[in-house]
Each structure stands twice: as C-alpha cells, then as structure tokens.
C-alpha cells in the first residue's frame, strides 16, 4: 500500500484501458467495469481514511519522484486533512454516479471512458503536491467534461459545453501565468509544501507594473478558482452547464468540480499568499454575501427544478466563502480570535463537503423525476406525494438538508461559517442570514408545488423510485443526517490541518509585506 495515492489516481486509467478493449455492444460489461473501478477506488479511499493520522496536520502518504529535472518538476503526491474529505467524496460520488448513469443509451463506451478520465483528473488535483502536476490534472478535467455535457446533455448542450470550456480555460490560463510567476520568484520550484514556506517571504517587495506581485498573483489565482466555485460574477456558466448536463454529470459537477475552487483557494492562495488574504478577505466576504443573496434570489425565480438546484449551489458556496474570509479573525489586528478563524475555516471545508453530498442528492432526485416525466417544470407536477411516497420522503430529506434545517449536516457547516465570520464581518453576516430564509422559501415552495395538492392526471401511473435509484440516494442521505447530528468525526480529520493553515496565514501574513 506504499503507492496508495498513485493507485487512487491511476486506477480509473486502468479502467479506461480495459473499457477500450471491450467491444462496444457489450454495454453491461462496460458498465460493470466502471462500477468495479470506482468501487475499488472508493475502497482504497476508505482504507486511506482508516490509515490517516489526523493528529499530524501535515502531508502524509507522500510520494515523490523526479519528472522533468531540468525545470524541477516532480511527480509529488500527498494528502492532508484538507484534501482527505475530498479524496473520499470524489470516489464516493463517482461510484454513485456510475449507477446514476445506468440508463445512458448513446455511445456507452465513450461515456464511461470519459467519465473515468474525469475521475482521474479530479482526484489528481486533490492529491497533487506539485503545482505543475496540479495544473495538468486541473486541465485534464476540461475535455472529458466538454464531451460529457456536449454529447449526453440536454437540448442546449453544445452551447453549455463550450461556455463551460471557455470560462474554465480563461481561469486556467490566468492560473498558468500565476504558476510560472510563483515558480520564477520563489526559488524555481513547483513543490507546493516548499512554496508554502518560501513564497510569503520571497514575493514581498516584488513589483509588477508598480503593483505588488503578491496582489497580482492572488488576483490571477483567485479568478482561476473563482470561476470554478463559482463566485459572482463568474457564475453564469454554472446554471446552464448544470441544466444541460446529464444527471450523473450534474452530480459530479456540483459535488466535486465546484469544490476544486474552494480547495484551490485554501491549498494555494491561503498558505502561499497570506498577506493578500488579509488584503482580500473583506472583498471575499462581500462576494460570499452576493453569492448567498444572488443565488437564493435567482433560485426563487426558477420554474425549472434543476435550475433551482443549480442556483442553490451558488448560494451554498457563498457560505463557504464567508467562512473562508473569517480566517483573518485570528490575525493580531483583529484580536487574535483563534476560535472564530477555526470555526470559519472548518465551516468552509465542512460546507464544501456537505454541499457535495446534499447537492448530489438533489440532482439525483431531480434526475429521477425527469427520467419519468421528461420535464422538470416545478408547476407541471402536483400531488406526487400520493403517487410516489417513498420518492417524496427522499426529496424531503434532500430539500430539508438543502435549506439548512438543523439536524442535517448543511446546518452545522453554515452555522460554523456564520459564527466564524461574525466577529469580523458583522453586517455582512447579518445580511446574509436572509439567504437562509430565502433558501427555505424556494425549497419549501417547490416542494409544495411538486408533491402536494391534486395529483396531476398525467402522472397517475408514474412508477415509484426504484431500487437502483434508492441505492444512489440513501448513502448520501445517511451521511447528511449522520454528520448533521454528530459532525465530530469529520471535524477531527480536518482540525489539525486547519490549525496549521491558520497559523500559516497569521504568522506569515499581515498587512505588511506589500
């Protein structure tokens, strides 16, 4: 198990090779290959969790090998408390998404091959400890995603796919400039742990066109990651991509891809540019607020159920941004409020995980009803609770989790983000609690319109949610409720890494250095 991280990354590639050799008529075998591949990956991830030492707070299971010695590129992997939750979530959602895509009927072979390639890219980003490797994995995701949306998506799929591709590429090329900038100014290394130590000092005093290089690199990286999160005003690709993508891909998109943005900010921006964290956190909190309110307002106006869920994603990521901005509470200027920073950052990481499970659940459930009715118009149903009681029950769990009802994991993480941010950003936090109210409004009103009232005659023969679909929802529901009642196991994993990060940001950064 020495190379467990490499196995996690390259297992899907093995799966791809196997799939390529299976004749395209043997669809069942292709699907089973995907199931087995992602299943083993999930088992490996859980094994990794069991071996993970959460007391350390530093990188573990490190693998390092020379790649391109002439410019110091290494194949370097490692996992810490920040990446571990995502390393578990990614295979979990991939595994479930394979079952969600069971009904794909077009070019099955291509679909699953691309799906597994996407899987490799995603988990690779979470595990890479070399910035160059990180960037390569980051970009590897783009092409499969383009195809998965563009070929198996809804009516506007081509437009959605190219829009997604162009938006993300803008972010990534700016990130590339920042990567090279960091490399050149910080001792010519791409090693992320090394950069964390050298970058804060090496960059101070470096000027680009009269601006501090710290600020410019921060902005470049922030745009790159913000497009993925997505932060207002870079969010416009998201509703479209979500709505047009097939259900399984929406699950992956919401569950994992959006997390890459937050993860990137915490992994790269925070430790490497701590000065700019203080400079930018006000703006970040404000952007979080805009995300919360804007996402909720837009969700309120939707008649398409999937679009509603998509906008709720924007709203949910807003809380995470708010929590991330809270880290400056621990700075000396703000009284060194360690507890608030701890709560805010943990809340953000937790929110990122919870949104992964909750929105995945929501998208799967939307997919269930769409497969049966072939539309997603909220007002086009009515009274479904009588026809599909089990489905209505599952939806209730998902909707309640989505609106942040106490008892579900979403509540815990949102609450942590709020209390973390409150000492520093009082007004912003107070205003953004309106978001919670709006959340409840759109989720509950959608629920009412779909499930209560008279049963729509058209759907009186609508079959109940089947076993395969239940299998995909129940694990997520269990996780949501479990962490809602007892979040300790999760917070234990991340707490030491978060402490480490706060220490890094507050010790290395400040208002000086520009």
């Amino acid at each position: 198990m020495e190379y467990i991280l490499s196995w996690l990354i390259w297992l899907p590639v093995v799966g791809i090779v196997v799939i390529l050799f299976i004749p395209r008529e043997r669809e069942y075998i292709i699907k089973m290959t995907a199931v087995v591949t992602t299943g083993i990956q999930l088992a490996l991830a859980l094994f990794l969790w069991s071996k993970f030492d959460s007391g350390l707070g530093t990188f573990q299971f490190i693998e390092k090998a020379e790649w391109i010695p002439s410019i110091n590129i290494f194949y370097s992997l490692g996992v810490d408390g920040l990446s571990l939750p995502m390393v578990i979530l990614t295979p979990l959602l991939s595994f479930l998404a394979v079952f969600v895509s069971w009904n794909i009927d077009r070019a099955v072979k291509g679909y699953f091959a691309l799906f597994l390639l996407l899987d490799t890219g995603m988990i690779g980003v979470f595990l890479a400890l070399d910035f160059f490797l990180f960037y390569v994995f980051w970009e590897v995701m783009l092409l499969p995603m383009y195809f998965l949306i563009g070929m198996w998506g809804g009516p506007q799929r081509e437009y959605a796919a190219i829009k997604f591709f162009l938006y993300t590429l803008v972010g990534s090329v700016l990130m590339l400039v920042a990567v090279i900038g960091l490399y050149l100014n910080c001792g010519k290394t791409f090693d992320i742990p090394t950069l964390m130590e050298t970058a804060p000092n090496a960059l101070s005093g470096v000027m680009w066109w009269g601006f501090s290089a710290i600020k410019i690199i921060w902005i470049l990286l922030f745009i790159g990651f913000a497009i993925k999160v997505p932060v207002f005003p870079f969010h416009t690709w998201l509703p479209l991509a979500h709505v047009e993508a097939p259900t399984a891909i929406s699950v992956i998109l919401a569950g994992v891809l959006l997390k890459l943005g937050v993860y990137g900010l915490l992994r790269i921006n925070y430790p490497m540019l701590p000065d700019a964290v203080f400079w930018f956190s006000g703006a970040m909190a404000l952007l979080g607020l805009i995300n919360v309110i804007w996402g909720a307002m837009c969700a309120l106006a939707q008649t398409d159920l999937k679009k509603l869920v998509a906008y709720s994603s924007i709203n949910h990521m807003g809380y995470a941004l708010l929590g991330m901005a809270a880290v400056i509470a621990a700075g000396a200027v703000n009284g060194g409020n360690q507890a608030a920073a701890q709560a805010g950052l943990s809340g953000a990481v937790f929110q990122m995980f919870n949104h992964g499970t909750i929105s995945a659940m929501l998208f799967i459930l939307v997919g269930v009803v769409y497969d049966r009715a072939h539309h997603r118009d909220i007002d086009g149903f009515g009274g479904l609770a009588k026809q599909m009681p089990l489905y209505a029950g599952m939806c209730m769990i998902a909707f309640f989790a989505g609106l942040g009802l106490p008892g579900f994991s979403g509540f815990v993480s949102e609450f942590m983000c709020f209390i973390g941010a409150f000492p520093v950003f009082k007004v912003i936090v107070i205003i953004s609690t309106i978001g919670i109210l709006l959340n409840a409004a759109y989720f509950l009103s959608a629920y009412k319109r779909i499930f209560f009232g008279e049963l729509n005659e058209k759907y009186k023969d609508m079959p109940e949610i089947n076993r395969r679909e239940l299998l995909t929802v129940i694990p997520l529901a269990v996780i949501t409720i479990l962490f809602g009642i007892y979040p300790r196991p999760f917070l234990d994993i991340i707490s030491n890494t978060i402490d480490h990060l706060i220490y890094q940001v507050t010790q290395m950064g400040g208002y000086a250095g520009f």
């Binding site: 092409l143 383009y146 090329v173 400039v177 090279i180």
Partner: protein, 497 residues
Amino acid sequence: MNNLQSLSYYLPELLLVATILVSVIADLFLKKENSHQVGLWILGGLIVTLFSFQFIPKNDITTLFMNTIAYDPFANFFKILLIIATGFIILISRESHELSNIRAGEYYMLLGIMVFGMFLMASAIDLIMVYLSVEIVSIVSFVLAAYLKDSKLSNESGLKYVIYGAFSSGLMLFGLSILFGVTGTTKFFEIRSVLGSADPDAFLAVVVASVLILAGFGYKISAVPFHFWTPDVYEGAPTPVTAYLSVAPKAAGFAILLRFFNDSLSNGGVLENLDFGYTGLPWPQLLAVLSLITMTLGNIVAIQQKSVKRMLAYSSIAHAGYMLMATPLLSRDGIYAILIYLVMYLFMNLGAFLVVIVVKNQKNGGESFEDFKGLGWEMPLLGGAMTLFMISLTGLPPTAGFIGKFYVFYSVLNADPSFFWLVFAGAINSVISLYYYVRVIKVMYLDGNRKETISTPSKMTIALLLGTGLPTLIFGVYWSPIANWVESSMHFLFHTI
C-alpha cells in the same frame, strides 16, 4: 575555414545533393504511375543524411566556405528538425489523392532541393548567402504551391505566392544592400563590430535596413503584416505542401531571424544583455507588438473560416505569433522556448494536416467543416487523433502544445516586467483559439450520429497518425529528451548562450 577543409563538415549536405541528383536521373526512367517511388529515394537519402550527422564533428563550432555559413549545434538542430518534417511530408504526400494522378517525380525532387535551401537558411552568416538561401526556398515553394496544374486554386496560390514573394524578397534585398553600404561587409559578425563603432548618422540607414530585412523574414514565418499570402496559398496549394509550408520554412525562417538579429545586431554578444537600442529603434517593443498583432489576427480570423484547411492556415499565423512572443528580448530562455515550440508544433501541425488530407481523400476533396461531420463516429482513430491535435494546438495539457506554450510564457515572465502584458495577451489568445479548435471537435462528434460501420484508414495512414500523434501526447507528458536536445543545441557560432 577554406573550401576543402569545409567539406568534411559538409557531409550531410553533400549526401543530400547527391540524393537529389540521383533522384533526378532515376525519375527519367520511371513511368508516370511509378513516379511516386522517387519519394522513397529522397526519403532514403534523407535518412542517410540524418545518420551522417553522427560522422561529422559534433561539438565543433566553426565557419565553413570562407565564412559564409556557420557550423554550430544551433544549425544542426534545425537541420535535423527539417529532415524529420520532410520525411513526414514525403510519406504524407504518397497518401494524398491530390497528387496520385500526376507525375510526381519532380515534386519529391523539389522537396529535396527545398531541404537543401533550408539547411542554408539555418546556417547562413553572410548577407549574400541569406538572400540566396531564402530565394532557393521561396522559388521551390512557388512551384510546389502551383503543382496541381489543372487546379485553378493551386495556380492562383502559386501566382499569389510569387507576387508576394518577389515583393518581400525585393524589400529584403534592398535592406541587405543598405546594410552592406553602411558597413562595407557582408559577414554578420563583421557587421556587428563595424556597427559598434559606426557613425551615429548611419543609424537611420541601419534602422531602415533592419525593417526591410525583417519584412523578408516575416514573410517566411508569416508574421503580420507580411502574412497576406498565407491563407490563399495554404488553401490552394496541395494539402501536403500546405502542411510542409506551415512547418518547415517557418522553422527555417525562425532560424535565420534569430541568427541574424542575434549575430549582427546584438551589442555585445551575450544575449541576456542584448540591446538593440543603438539602432535607434525600440526593437523589443516593435517585435512584441508584432507578436501581439500576429497572434490576435490569426486567431480572430480563424474563427470565421468555413474550411478546416484555411482555418489551419490562420492558426499557423497565430502560432507564429506565439513564437514571436519569445523574440523581443532574445534572451536565452526565449530562444530555448522557440526551439522547443518548433519541435512540438512540428508534430501537432503535421498531424492536423494529415487528418485533413485523409478526410479530403475520403470526401472527394472536401475540406470544410461540413465534411468533418460525424468523423469521430465514422473513423474513430482519425477523430481521436484530430481531437488530440486540436487540444494540443490550443495548448492544453497533457499535450506537446502545452509544453511549447509553457516555455514561451516562462521566457517572457522571466524577462523584464514591462513585457508581462505579452503573456496575458498570449493567454487570452489561447482561449480565443480554443473556440475554433473545439469547433472541429464539435463537428466531428457532437454533430454526427453513431455509425454502424466503422472505416479504418490505410495502414500507412495509421502509422503516420501514430508517428505524429504519439509524440504529441508523449512530449506533453515527458519532454526531457527534447529539453536536453534543445539545451545542447543552444550554441551559436560566436557565443554560447
């Protein structure tokens, strides 16, 4: 070094000339339908030439033939690159239906002559030799572009090429003679030392001369505003010729451009401290703006094209722009980046044109986006390869194109911050280029439907697809061999950089 001594260093060229002569005679004895065999003769000769690089003194750096051409690793790098490109083109030409019904003996012979001309371009250090080598390449290119005698477009392309070519080489010749008039010598290194102590009054003449000479080189690498011939010539010429023009003369053009500016106009010889300033013209800024305009124009016009071949023509202009990004400072990193980029560009661009040729064969000469419809379903191998080439041309990892861009961006960011804007321009241009490259992918996969029958291209085509596709992929993941090769080629005649 005198003429006789030079011969031992000149083994590759001698072998090349011998090959050309043999093939001229061989062609006389071949029937029309067998005339494509000449290609194999030339190919054999090129392979022998490639091997002969083993037998010449590798590490010597000297001048040959009374100081007219340089013998240095930099030149040898380009020579090897050009042989590889020509080898591919010969094999690709044999696959193309465009050329299959005409007598093609001369065609291959001309390719051989062009290689010889480009060898000279890569090593010329004398103004006369500069002009002669550029002209050899140009004149052969004119003939090749118009090789399809019955095709109106091909004739038009040849004629346009001649007119633009004559004009720009006239400008260049004018520039060269002014430079000779000012300095009284034709040798690069003497020009540099004379200019170092020249009368300031002469600077205006030098500036004019340099701009005129730049026009000649810019024409070869199809940089804006000397690019006007490119789209029409690329569209009308036989597709293998288009592929060739987009790669080989471009590489040779960069070789001569780098060598000329580096050897004759640089101040001290150490490139890091290079300063064009004494010619009175802001050279770095000028080249930077040229690069910006070249890539932006190439990309924006490429978006509107209906023909894939023409789109690739504009894309090749854009790529010249990316490579020019690294020229303004002529730093070591910059030259390094250009060399790496040329290697990567060779494989991906030849591959893309190869796919166009196969589609053309399949669709009776169709080369529009319409003809690519459903290609990914009809011929999965071809579609997959084209997807790879398009991704690589966009510059996404893990492909060779990304590595090229990475080094170019790197070289600019490692230079003076006043040029950083160029990196952003390059980055945004990459995004623009994505739009039209992905359009090919879209047409191939998204617009077509699954076909029950899959057709496979010929064995030779598959081999060529692998020959261009695998390097495109492998050098995107592991490019140390290329990096080392380029590293060891960074020795110019008079200074090691």
